[in-house]
């Protein structure tokens, strides 16, 4: 067995070449020179809407030389919530995750501060609405970038014909396409009268009283319209107040005009109610209308999405944003931030909103008048007022302005709808309030 002898010259040459290769390697831009990034996006229920996000991400990844993987995680069965809980426990998983409403705050300690990119994004897109700030910031720290994908307003979606015929209300005239709402008379009083009239006519408003989000969101907006808060912004109990009593009295009257099975409604019930043509109004983003467009076009042609009725303390509409957050265990935070900036460019946002058929709502004030909302139909312009283009109503979330960690409990436990139901079923007002106060005390544990 012969063995070639390594000369001194050969050894020096090989060492020099190896050293040069090692030193220059990081500066060679290979296909994935900027590392890897994994993203957990919310799986959109509008067919094809995910494609827009994928295209934007892939385009960015090719430019930045980042290897990306995207998982679209559905919210059906709370799969996204389970994934968030698992990743938070394991301190491992995706780099970026689409956090729904309360989950940015719930995981605040484990999320990267994105305030540095929020400044320029706000400068470009305009101010962020109050609810996005309430849910997306802890002190001065932004816990995520408000995502347009999945963010929604759950305002009234009315049947033009039924509201005109039975309640004498022309919703199109009240919320005309291309101009400001003429809705000064659209108050909770008018709303209640309309609910009574439609109930008498056999087409009651489809508002649920169950424990799922659609039901809680409507109750939340109506409570805020009366100035009713169970816990105030400082964390004080404010259950036993006149405002809460007024809200309960209002709901008691309203419940008698709602479908008798409303206590068992979930988030699908109101959609079915509208699509089947059994009701004159529901409180929902345009997903129900989109389903009607496919399954019951004659119903879809009569749908008009518009603003909430005003109460004594203002006009509030439920707004549920998503946030794209970066876990603090992410190994590629710079790339993640760069991608979030790209996703928040006006062109990217418009592309995603168009792909969702106008369902998605940007949180920024300069982006509430996109063309898609003027053009979607039938009837044309049905979504014009959906993004609140004239800031006609205050965007809110149920249980706010309580500190988010307390508010999340009030929201998840559906304390508001339970109070309404208990009082409607004959429980004494003070007993209902005492029960709610006890619940809220429990939610304050740290």
């Amino acid at each position: 067995m012969s063995r070639k002898k390594l000369t001194r010259r050969q050894f020096v040459a090989a060492t020099a070449m190896s050293s040069a290769a090692l030193i220059t390697a990081p500066y060679v831009r290979g296909a994935y020179a900027a590392g890897k990034l994994s993203i957990g996006f919310w799986d959109h229920w509008v067919p094809g809407a995910n494609k827009a996000s994928t295209e934007i991400v892939n385009e960015w990844a090719a430019k930045e030389k980042v290897e990306v993987t995207i998982d679209y995680i559905p919210s059906q069965g709370n799969k996204n919530l389970l994934t968030i809980a698992a990743e938070a426990q394991a301190k491992s998983g995706h780099d970026i995750f689409a956090m729904p409403t309360w989950w940015a705050h719930a995981n605040a300690d484990q999320l990267e501060n994105v305030s540095d990119i929020m400044g320029p994004i706000i400068a470009e897109n305009g101010e962020v609405n109050g609810t996005a700030k309430y849910l997306g910031t802890a002190g001065s720290k932004w816990l995520g970038v408000p995502a347009s994908v999945g963010s929604q307003i759950k305002g009234p979606c009315s049947r033009i014909d039924l509201m005109k015929k039975h309640a004498g209300i022309d919703v199109q005239a009240m919320y005309p396409v291309g101009s400001e709402p003429k809705a000064d008379n659209w108050t909770l009083e008018t709303f209640l009268k309309a609910a009574e009239a439609c109930h008498k006519a056999g087409v009651p408003f489809g508002i649920g009283l169950g424990e799922t989000t659609d039901n809680v969101d409507t109750a939340g907006a109506i409570f805020l319209s009366f100035g009713a808060q169970l816990v105030d912004a400082k964390g004080n109990l404010t259950v036993k107040t006149d405002a809460v009593r007024q809200a309960l009295e209002f709901y008691k009257k309203l419940i008698s005009f709602l479908p008798p099975d409303a206590a068992a409604w979930d988030d699908a019930s109101n959609n079915k109610w509208l699509v089947s043509g059994r009701g004159a109004m529901i409180m929902n983003p345009p997903s129900a209308w989109a389903v009607a467009k496919r399954d019951a076009p004659q119903v879809a042609e009569q749908c008009w999405t518009h603003g909430f009725p005003a109460g004594p303390k203002g006009r509030f509409a439920p707004y549920l944003p998503y946030f794209w957050s970066i876990w603090n265990f992410s190994k590629n935070k710079d790339a993640a931030k760069s991608l979030l900036v790209q996703l928040s460019k006006p062109a990217s946002i418009e592309k995603m909103v168009v792909a969702s058929g106008g369902y998605d709502l940007p949180a920024y004030e300069k982006l509430t008048t996109l063309k898609v909302w003027q053009e979607e139909g039938p009837p044309k312009g049905t979504l014009y007022h959906y993004p609140n283009p004239y800031k006609h109503q205050t965007l809110s979330i149920a249980a706010s302005p309580a500190p988010p960690k307390i508010a999340q409990q009030i929201y998840a436990q559906a304390t508001l709808t339970k109070m309404c139901l208990r009082y409607h079923q004959g429980e004494a007002m003070e007993k209902t309030l005492a029960w709610a106060e006890g619940e809220c005390e429990g939610f304050m544990r740290s």
């Binding site: 709370n78 919530l81 389970l82 809980a85 426990q89 309360w102 989950w103 719930a106 995981n107 300690d109 009283l209 169950g210 424990e211 799922t212 479908p259 008798p260 099975d261 409303a262 206590a263 068992a264 409604w265 979930d266 019930s269 079915k272 109610w273 089947s276 059994r278 960690k405 999340q408 409990q409 998840a412 436990q413 559906a414 339970k418 139901l421 208990r422 006890g438 619940e439 429990g442 544990r445 740290s446």
Partner: protein
């Protein structure tokens, strides 16, 4: 040690050979082979059951933000909540009622099937097992449509007889009835098949002797069938009690705990608090509360099984 004791004169070079032969002997032992063959399963159980169980114990001792050890503080907190006691009560009602009806229906149906001639029995056994083999998440969806608040197929049918509409999931009592009914529908076939197997193992001579003694059908069941089936009834009841107490999917899909929390059981309430409310330690505490209840039931039932085993 044993080798040294047996052969005190064995020293130096002989030892490694003896060690090897000891290892070979150990490997040849049936118990070692059995242990090695079950090792993958033991590792799997350790990873998927024992580790999560201890981890949830650890979680239950933390505060809401999971930064501080609070000992039994979460349980103390739960004991002061009315909703918790409502959930305890409902879990007991749900599990006990469902298990009693499952056992009763399973027992009756097992007798019917047992009396079908052997030729056609297999078909019936197969058909009656269908509810148990369909994943409950899927079959409960079908039940949800049957109970749908606005479009219930049951209510539609009942309307022809002038009955209803019944608020299947909208009224507390009806909602409890509905979730128990679906659980019984799903679980009764399991009891049926276990009881059928037990019935087949009862020697015919015992019935013949009872018939000669003039026993009627009830006496045959009471003095022959039931004593012979006691152990299987006890084990099946315990197993079903554990599974029913820990049920999640049926209640979650059908009522999600509503109306007004009146159908929540441990698992659904733990999910509501832990996952939907982001209070994982409290959710873990709620789910762990099942353990002592089930442990007491297991001790009583298994002790009885052991006793009878010894008597036999």
């Amino acid at each position: 040690m044993a080798d040294v004791a047996l052969r005190p004169d064995g020293i130096g070079t002989a030892q490694p050979a003896r060690k090897r032969s000891g290892l070979q002997k150990a490997l040849k032992r049936r118990s070692t082979a059995a242990f090695l063959m079950t090792l993958p399963l033991i590792i799997l159980i350790a990873l998927l059951v024992i580790y999560p169980a201890f981890y949830s114990l650890h979680l239950a001792t933390l505060n809401k933000s999971m930064q501080k050890f609070v000992g039994l503080g979460n349980f103390e907190f739960l004991f002061r909540r009315d909703t918790f006691w409502l959930v305890v009560k409902q879990s007991c009602i749900f599990a006990i009622t469902a298990v009693v009806f499952k056992a009763l229906i399973g027992f009756i149906v097992a007798h019917f099937v047992h009396n079908i001639p052997a030729k056609g029995q297999r078909k019936w056994r197969g058909m009656l097992l269908v509810p148990w083999v369909i994943p409950p998440a899927m079959s409960t969806l079908a039940w949800l449509w049957l109970f749908d608040p606005s479009y219930s197929a049951f209510n539609y049918t009942l309307s022809f007889f002038g009955i209803g509409p019944i608020p299947w999931t909208g009224d507390a009592a009806w909602a409890r009835f509905s979730v128990i009914l679906v659980n019984v529908w799903y679980g009764a076939p399991f009891f049926m098949i276990m009881y059928l197997a037990a019935l087949k193992s009862v020697p015919d001579q015992l019935y013949e002797a009872a018939a000669i003694d003039g026993a009627n059908w009830w006496q045959r069941i009471w003095y022959v069938t039931l004593p012979m089936m006691r152990n299987i009834i006890a084990i099946t009841t315990l197993f079903s009690l554990i599974v029913t107490f820990a049920n999640f999917d049926i209640v979650r899909i059908l009522t999600a705990g509503g109306p007004l929390d009146h159908t929540h059981i441990f698992a659904t309430w733990a999910f509501r608090i832990g996952i939907e409310g982001s209070d994982i330690p409290l959710g873990a505490s709620v789910s762990l509360f099942m353990v002592p209840i089930l442990a007491v039931a297991a001790i009583f039932i298994l002790r009885d099984v052991n006793k009878r085993g010894n008597e036999a």
